[in-house]
């Protein structure tokens, strides 16, 4: 039940904002300076073109030519043929390692800053395996993996005469080995006839599984435009050797097994794993806790080098769905001598507060559901639950857990039903953030009243806590 569009937008906005903060002031200065320099030249050329005679045109052309010496135009110049603004990408040849992907080859491919840096740092091993089928050519370009995730770079060329799109990307390591597609990044979603598009697929792996070298990358390509498939999906399998050991030596696992206590609730920090692709903190709720934990608020890691001069604060990406793992981006600091973990608090509630009994035909709450209002749409067999989160402010927008229900509910006869089509929305009502969750009740007859379980909602206990991990 994670289908909260506004939640997704907020999370994505937060990610984009943080990614965008990583750009240096120098690059921004350079971009605006060059832009204004170009603007001066363009304006001068216009004056030349629209001038009243050859003399004016010549004078303006001279201004245009000499303007590269003027303040604001940039000493490096921006005439055709000269390099445009880059993102501070190091020269790909620095490592001179033919087995690694060259960051220059990924210019123009939209991806998270974290992935971009992984390629820049030479962690993506080259594969270069190509398979063609039914007019599509898939090239597996490179891959980087630790024991939690894998990034795969692929290019697809469309030699058919119609638009297509990549509808599926997955990696098959064999039966019983966990491999779950998480996302696909790229800038060219449509495969225009004759064109090639590049993507980065993120695959979730499990630290409990052993991953064999032999794997199959599988992509589904569907002809036709969005919403208008024009044929059957073409599945392309590309067998490849995964670089299961490539980053192993660079992985550091710190066993912690100590507790962080927030408002009497104990959270056992089990371990922190630092890899070139990310940092993973595994934790567990203490079973003796009297509250049910929804989330850790604003978790932070602080990594410091031996001299104490370099400090890295890797960005928190989010939790792993269904697991007690906090994911952070890879840090700029290798082999930190100290690691500190902190939270601003927890969002948690008494177990009884997560129980909700209601009549799904009338919307009347029988038990629980404090602060909730329920409305019913009998035609659609849907219910909408609404609550006030708190003030409509940036903090709540970023941190507040979405109101979610468990995926099933039980009716008065003990029959289990599955909820469908969850739709969450938040809005600003007179300065208050209100959220609503609309869910489908399914086609089956529901004996009244029905019992639901609340998976999460925003119930913050703001009590900061820290733990020295290393």
């Amino acid at each position: 039940m994670t289908n909260h569009e506004e939640e997704k937008l907020r999370r994505d906005a937060e990610r984009a904002a943080r990614d965008s903060e990583k750009v240096g002031s120098m690059e921004l200065n350079e971009a605006t300076r060059r832009g204004i320099g170009q603007g001066k030249k363009r304006a001068a050329r216009r004056r030349a073109v629209y001038g009243t005679g050859a003399v004016t045109a010549a004078a303006a052309a001279m201004i245009a030519l000499s303007s590269s010496l003027m303040p604001g135009s940039g000493a490096t110049g921006d005439e055709p043929g000269q390099p445009r603004v880059t993102a501070g990408v190091p020269n790909g040849g620095q490592e001179a390692d033919a087995q690694k992907e060259n960051p220059k080859d990924y210019r123009g491919v939209g991806m998270d800053a974290n992935v971009s840096r992984i390629i820049e740092r030479g962690h993506m091993s080259s594969i270069d395996r190509t398979v063609s089928k039914d007019g599509y050519t898939l090239t597996l370009r490179g891959e980087a993996m630790d024991d939690r995730k894998m990034f795969v770079a692929l290019s697809v060329k469309n030699d058919t005469d119609q638009i297509a799109r990549v509808s599926r990307t997955e990696v098959d390591f064999g039966e019983g080995v966990h491999s779950q597609w998480k996302s696909r990044m790229g800038t060219e979603g449509e495969l225009i006839p004759g064109s090639t598009a590049t993507y980065i697929a993120e695959i979730e792996l499990s630290p409990e599984d052993e991953y064999p070298e032999d794997a199959i990358f599988r992509a589904g390509i569907t002809p036709g435009d969005f919403g208008r498939p024009a044929g059957q999906e073409v599945t392309i399998d590309v067998p490849f050797k995964a670089h299961t050991e490539a980053l192993k030596d660079e992985i550091e696992t710190v066993e912690v097994n100590r507790e962080l206590e927030v408002s009497g609730q104990k959270i056992e920090v089990k371990s922190v794993e630092i890899t070139p692709l990310g940092i993973y903190l595994d934790y567990a709720e203490n079973e003796a806790n009297d509250k049910r934990l929804f989330s850790l608020i604003d978790p932070k890691l602080k990594l410091t080098d031996a001299d104490g001069t370099t400090v890295a604060n890797p960005r928190f990406i989010g939790g792993t769905y269904g697991k007690d793992t906090l994911n952070f981006e890879a840090a700029d600091l290798e082999s930190p001598s100290s690691i500190d973990f902190s939270v601003a608090g927890i969002s948690a509630a008494d177990p009884e507060q997560t129980r909700l009994v209601l009549d799904t035909e009338t919307g009347k709450i029988v038990e629980g559901g404090e602060g909730l209002t329920v409305s019913v749409d009998p035609d659609e067999k849907e219910i909408t639950l609404e609550r006030t989160v708190g003030e409509y402010n940036e903090y709540n927008q970023v941190h507040a857990d979405a109101f979610m229900l468990e995926e099933t509910f039980t009716d008065a006869k003990g029959i289990e039903h599955k909820l469908s089509d969850p739709l969450g929305e938040r809005e600003n009502r007179d300065g208050k953030m209100t959220e609503s969750l609309t869910v489908g009740l399914g086609a089956g007859e529901v004996a009244q009243p029905a019992e639901f379980r609340i998976r999460s909602y925003w119930n913050p206990i703001l009590e900061a806590a820290e733990l020295k991990i290393k």
Binding site: T32, A87, G227
Partner: protein, 169 residues
């Protein structure tokens, strides 16, 4: 009484001061502008290129800006037009999954590609409202100023954009 030479020097100084002010304004808002470009393009290098292009266009058009206080919405308008040009030029329109496909993985994923696909399917005006409101926390009044439309119109666009997004995700 000023001589023609003094008048000429005076207006040159005023022009220089105006230029400095203009450059200062762009510099003041460069990070915000970059952030908006990044929201559209999701790529550092591309966002910087667009910021460069928008700075260039703004300079060329700077005399069309009559109200200095309206600089930021005006500049953002130029910037998002540059972003859309860039997206069009590079055919950066991501299709969304069609209804009925296996959406299990999507349900688990909260990643950008899903949103990008949904946003890419929207009319540019809806996309602008979503990005400016949710990614840059602008009020509808501010969004209306950027897009140069009445607030009521923008509110309607937002409603329709969210409705479309629900259908697409």
């Amino acid at each position: 009484m000023d001589t023609p030479l003094e008048v000429k020097q005076g207006s040159a100084r005023a022009a220089e001061e105006n230029e400095e002010k203009f450059i200062g304004k762009i510099a003041e808002h460069r990070r915000k502008l970059y952030g908006i470009a990044f929201s559209y393009l999701h790529n550092e290098a591309d966002a910087l290129e667009v910021l460069q292009e928008a700075s260039c266009k703004a300079w060329v058009k700077r005399r069309s800006l009559k109200d200095g206080a309206a600089f930021l919405p005006w500049m953002i308008r130029i910037l998002i037009n540059c972003c859309m040009d860039e997206l069009r030029r590079r055919k950066r329109v991501s299709p969304s999954e069609r209804a009925g496909e296996d959406r299990t993985a999507e349900m688990i994923s909260s990643h950008r590609i899903d949103l990008d696909r949904a946003l890419a399917q929207m009319q540019p005006k809806y996309r602008h409202v979503i990005i400016l409101k949710y990614y840059h926390d602008m009020t509808l009044t501010e969004v209306a100023r950027v897009l140069n439309k009445p607030e009521g119109t923008v509110k309607t666009w937002l409603h329709k954009a969210l409705k479309q997004m629900r259908e697409l995700l």
